[in-house]
Symmetry: C2
Subunit: 363 residues, 2 copies
């Protein structure tokens, strides 16, 4: 039976290569009677090459209509000198904003087979499982006014504006508390309330929501600079970290790198639930387009497959299938299969499709 | 002979305790004929307790007149609920802004005796020596408009503004290129030019300055999220990192933590040189007021003493004396003296003044 529709946006660089392996898993699900209708379109540099913009209005409309997007990656040196509004990233940011995907879930987990690959001492990261929840449609990414103006004396002046309202903060914090309840019941709310007014409002709003609706969840406030430190010092103290768009960008990358599993980490960006409990959503590997290895068939498809597992779980309530896919990935790692980015002595080196083969066999 | 005047602002928490050890080194210098006239005043919570503000106009005027400040630390739980404008941090931020200390130098170095104390694997940090240069008087810390407004429906809206002009970027980048020339000749300029307009202007301005005045210095541009990753992954790739006020806040704390020597790291905040080549400057240990250990006499005075060494070097051109102090500190560590924060098996545990004793003896 057809369970739903998905829009594939492979994008640039290794995006298309890793998405191919997701297609194969979709084929496997179909053979088991779980069918998806997949459409595909262009985003990023790939869209710019054909249409002159990093995302067309038609693609944007299609994403909103289908509601569930599998995203590869965007960007590459070829596009570095494009003006701001045409950069590949703008395609991604427009999708986030116009689908209103305000809650970005970035799990930083250490795969047991890879604990040794972290730059941190193994005892600090073994078993690490932190969920970074990043606000994704507000803050300095979209606030107005923004731009560069010429001053009289030949100087230029650039401005960006960080804006948050109570409700923007509340809705993402609510997701954080709900996540924590299913995990270890602890939330760190991260801002710079000692310097920024958005930080003051952030702290007040999160605290008030906790006191009103989530008195059972432990809440701690932490400054963003201290959080960057604590992630390096003792990452296991965290369960769920909820933070704004810009701090979330830095802190989630820092946390991802700690795991030593950067090529392995997924993300989900979720919108609000509608009357039927359905949310618009986009799923995306945390690694980027990796121009240096694109086209060689050696990229690690696991981050993308893990993102697809999140899609199964969050968009289609297929938790059992998601578990099964994640378990297959974990088994294949235990068996010693490794793509180049996670190569280890004594392990079997495989290509992108070789990793896909191993995972499908395990499934 | 008197070589100059210094304003001591010990502040809160362990600030006063560690500054006492600097007084002793000043006494030692005096006995060798290098005399400083030291004045002392209140800042932060200590100033609030007496005057109701975290920095009085009189203290501000004195800092500007004397021009060289040794700063301890500010803040503590007692002051957490003060309104924004009265928080201890405002005293610090006012000093930075009104003395126009735009260039904040934060060396992240690993003391050989402490390489094992890092959370990173020793081979990644041994010999690490990165200089983080943070813009300190612009960006989102001071941009207008800023504040929180009430909306009609009981909601609130908070705004912060990040602003940079060409000249603000140029003057700090120039300090970065000059530093790099005396080090390993490499600058990483860090922003989010893919998202922020201030980042675009930052990148253009730094590149133009490099091409015009520093063609001999290697320049690389890096996004802030990637920089947070790379600091964890391979910190030794960096020589000088130049970045804005907010990114510098997070990245310098992250880098400091990498070294495992957080209680040991100094900082210098410098203004522009006047006609006589003199700069206003403030020197400050990177660690904060550490309320949890304040008043126990166990704080590590080394960060503050290292900051004083920077004062000798940058404000009074006493490079030989600075070298000598740094060498004494390094020797004392090699001899196994440790305060509680860096305690190691088989080492001699000492108090704040015990560490001061050992360093003075070595001098
Ligand atoms: C590509 C870029 C615009 C994006 C961001 O800054 O959000 C990326 O770094 C991310 O974290 O998804
Ligand atoms: C105390 C605080 C205002 C300050 C800052 O954010 O600049 C501190 O974190 C620092 O890095 O010096």
């Amino acid at each position: 039976a057809q369970v739903g529709r998905i829009l594939f946006l492979p994008g640039d660089g290794i995006g298309a290569e890793v998405m191919t392996e997701v297609r194969r898993v979709i084929g496997w699900l179909a053979r088991r009677g779980i069918e998806f209708a997949v459409e595909e379109d262009l985003v990023g540099g790939a869209a710019y090459d054909v249409h002159g913009v990093p995302l067309t209005d038609a693609t944007m409309a299609k994403a909103n209509e289908i509601g569930t997007v599998m995203f590869g990656a965007v960007g590459g040196p070829k596009y570095d000198d494009l003006p701001f509004a045409l950069k590949p990233e703008r395609g991604l940011l427009r999708l986030r904003k116009e689908m209103d995907l305000f809650a970005n879930l970035r799990p930083a987990i250490v795969f047991p087979a890879l604990a040794g690959a972290s730059s941190l001492k193994p005892e600090l990261v073994e078993g690490l499982d932190v969920m970074i929840l990043r606000e994704l449609t507000g803050g300095v990414y979209f606030g107005e006014p923004r731009g560069i103006t010429e001053l009289a004396d030949g100087q230029k002046r650039a401005v960006d504006t960080q804006v948050y309202t109570t409700s923007e903060i509340e809705r993402v914090a609510r997701v954080g508390f709900e996540l924590a309840r299913k995990r270890r019941n602890k939330v760190h709310s991260v801002e710079k309330a000692n310097v920024m007014h958005t930080g003051v409002l952030w702290r007040q709003t999160v605290q008030a929501l906790r006191d009103r609706d989530y008195p059972d969840v432990e809440l701690e406030h932490m400054y963003a600079d201290n959080c960057a430190m604590q992630l390096v010092r003792r990452p296991k103290q965290f369960d769920v970290i909820v933070t704004d768009n810009l701090f979330g960008d830095l802190l989630s990358d820092c946390a991802a790198m700690l795991t030593g599993s950067l090529g392995m980490l997924p993300s989900a960006s979720l919108g609000a639930a509608d009357a039927n409990g359905r949310r618009k959503a986009m799923y995306e590997p945390v690694h980027g387009s990796a121009p240096d290895i694109a086209g060689q068939g050696i990229a690690n498809p696991i981050a993308c497959l893990m993102s697809f597992a999140m899609l199964l779980r969050y968009s289609f309530d297929l938790g059992a299938e998601a578990d099964r896919l994640e378990k297959a990935i974990s088994n294949v790692l235990d068996q010693g299969y490794r793509t180049a980015d996670i190569a280890q002595d004594g392990c079997t080196r495989v290509s992108t499709s070789g990793m896909g083969d191993a995972i499908l066999k395990e499934l």
